[in-house]
Amino acid sequence: MTPAAGVRAAEPLPNPRLLHLLVPKVLTARARSVSDKKGRGVRVALLTVIGSLFWAFIFGLLYKLLVYFRGIPEIGPLLSGKLLGLMLVSFFSILLLSNVITALSSFFLAKDLDLLVSGPVDWLRLYGAKLIETVIASSWMVALMSIPVFTAYGWVYGGGWMFGLFAVAVFIPFLVIPAVIGSAITLTLVNIFPARRTRDILSVVAVAAAAGLVLVFRLVRPEQLARPEGFKSLVDFVAVLRTPTSPFLPSEWVQRSVMGLLGEKPDWLAVYLLWTTAAAFVVLGALLHRALYVNGFSKAQESAQRWARSGILSRMIMRVLRPLGVLKQELIMKEIRVFFRDTTQWSQLILLAVLVVVYVFNIKFLPLRGEGITMWLINVVPFLNLVLAGFVLASIAARFIFPGVSLEGRTLWLLRSSPMSMRDLLWAKFWVGTAPLLILALAIVGVTDYLLKVSSFMFMVSTFTIAMMTFAISGLAIGFGTVFPQFETENAAQIPTSFGGLLFMMASVAVIGAVVVLEARPVFSFLSSRLYGSQPDLLEMVFGFGAAFALCILATIVPIRVALTRLEAVER
């Protein structure tokens, strides 16, 4: 008998090591980092500069604040600790939400799962590998954000180099705990609902939770807490500061550990709690994974039955679009259907609504009445309001219009092989995005102008400007979205965070700034003439508003033309 045909029962079963399971991820990351794709150097340089500036800004702000706190006797360290606690609670909430979403992809929807689940990989190693993947994918941004925060604390309170190591040591379990909780929540949900339905539910819950947090934070008007008359006495104030934000939350343990080390009394119990809780959670998470994963993964392969029929609204829109012809009618209907049936897309509207409410709320509570408020200030604010409204519109366009062409990536074969010109496609995307954006823009400016009680001249200027800016922003979004497409990205929410998205935002800000600068002189001239009873310089007004108008038209048409050339050259 040959050895190959011998008794195989004694042979150990193959079981790849945990690190082996992570090799493809490491190799992919390495391949991306050494990629010689065109323009990569410029991207890396630009992102490094922007990242460094952001870090420097956070560090600078915190440094000034902490130095100020340090100078306050008795309550200075309490204030610093409270501030750190609040930041860590925010981090923890973000991490929890982000882990729940990420765990769904990494544990249930990732493309490598068929290979891993069908291979001789034991449940524990699969759990370990996917948990590490989840921690990294969902925590890198928070980890990067925490660097300037801890550096500022270490610097101001003289923590030294050892403090850096200590911060890393307490931050690791802080990242692991929400990852385990998030994965466990997802695992449980997938066992109840099909994975695709779970993804829909999670996207809405996550966005609604984030929106709720922002709304609650804004509506309680935290700026009032800074007013000394808000507290009856110093004793009350100190009592509030001494109360732990949340004694059972890991964020509190990290805060106690860090402030303890930076102060006189290191709090080793907090460090101990962090590590033991993280370890216990990983063990419990693994046990839950063993009990539920096989069933959950199997359910994840089933798709939820999703029926859809044309409703009255759909038929009405079809009727309105009829004069445009069959092709444009179908293109626009397709855009609308795809958007409203994709939960990850329409759920962003919740955030958008919150953004608008917060914006209008801020304008409503601007202290524009009373002593020291001149007629100038009252008229300048609505003008500057245009910059902010423009920025809000650019953010919305980045989320909804910029990804339009990228999302066609996998179906480009159909559009390219059909007798439809790419011009029709781009303009359909432009109008589908611009029409609602324009309504929103006019509503924002109309409401804020009403709240600010602006003059009819300023109302006309702001309405005209915001309408022109909307066209320019949409044109830029289509242009940059086509020139820097993300054809392989399945998640629309990730597309605006790409390099092209960054460039689009920079270009939009530049155009908004230029329009406001061009209009500043004629507006100034008009308001001066009203104030001093003189005649406004007509030439200056025509030139200023005309140049702003021309700039917006150029910013609308040129990017779409460039996009057309780019799209016609795409070979997919």
Partner: protein, 251 residues
């Protein structure tokens, strides 16, 4: 109906399609066979106007696709090898959308869509989102979409992938009937017995060039071999030089 003249596609120094000349007249079902990486899909995607040729010309119904792409594509239906479609449209909506791309709508389109979906057993799924379709169902929907606007020419890349035996049989019958009505189909496939049974003429492509083209009899004569398409294919594309299996499995 389809005419390729010195059609070439290069990716840097690599020539994927090397100066191909071909004419497929009306009423012909033409087969395109060749090993992986031979240039079949590249050629088909150039005909469909998705890839831009580095050199040469593609004419559909006498229209140069480079000069008047819209008019040329209006005569064409394309079925790709990878069934990526809009996940958030229902099957019926997708067919309506494709017909709309070709400027068609109304009761006739609805009727055709319904008939095509019924033909491929998709009727029950017509109002369900594509995201819940299996691979085979998506393939059947894409095949239906190529027929819904009744193009003069259909270019199809690997039509059998993911289809069940019943659907394969239906598809073959559909292709034959469509060609009998005077339309043209250019089909790339790895299923050699399907090509042999269905196609009026077959081209064998290897390393970007057509190494043989004609009816089965002409191919046999050219290859000096009396066997079926599989043997001729192996002989002409050098696939007989495959490694000795015993040597491979003992390694």
């Amino acid at each position: 109906m389809i005419r390729l003249s010195r059609l070439t596609k290069k990716y840097g120094n690599f020539t994927a399609v090397d100066s191909i000349d071909l004419h497929v007249p009306s009423g012909e079902l033409f087969g395109f066979v060749g090993p992986n990486g031979a240039g079949k899909t590249t050629t088909l995607r150039m005909i469909a106007g998705i890839l831009k040729p580095t050199g040469g010309k593609v004419e559909i119904a006498g229209i140069d696709i480079a000069k008047d792409p819209i008019a040329a594509k209006a005569k064409l239906g394309f079925i790709p090898d990878r069934p990526f479609i809009y996940e958030k449209l229902t099957g019926a909506e997708f067919l309506r959308f494709v017909a709309g791309l070709y400027g068609e709508q109304g009761p006739e389109v609805e009727h055709r869509a319904r008939e095509l979906m019924a033909l491929f057993d998709l009727e029950e799924w017509r109002d369900e989102l594509v995201e819940s379709y299996s691979h085979g169902m998506r393939q059947k929907l894409i095949v239906s979409s190529a027929f819904v606007h009744r193009p003069q020419v259909i270019v199809v890349d690997e039509p059998h992938v993911g289809l069940d035996p019943k659907s394969i049989k239906i598809l073959r019958e559909l292709f034959k009937e469509y060609v009998r009505r005077g339309h043209t189909i250019l089909m790339s496939t790895h299923t050699l017995d399907a090509a042999e049974a269905l196609c009026d003429r077959i081209a064998i492509i290897a390393v970007g060039k057509i190494v043989a083209c004609g009816t089965m009899d002409e191919l046999r004569a050219g290859a000096e071999h009396k066997g079926g398409l599989e043997e001729i294919f192996m002989r002409l594309t050098g696939q007989l030089a495959a490694r000795d299996l015993v040597e491979v499995l003992d390694a």
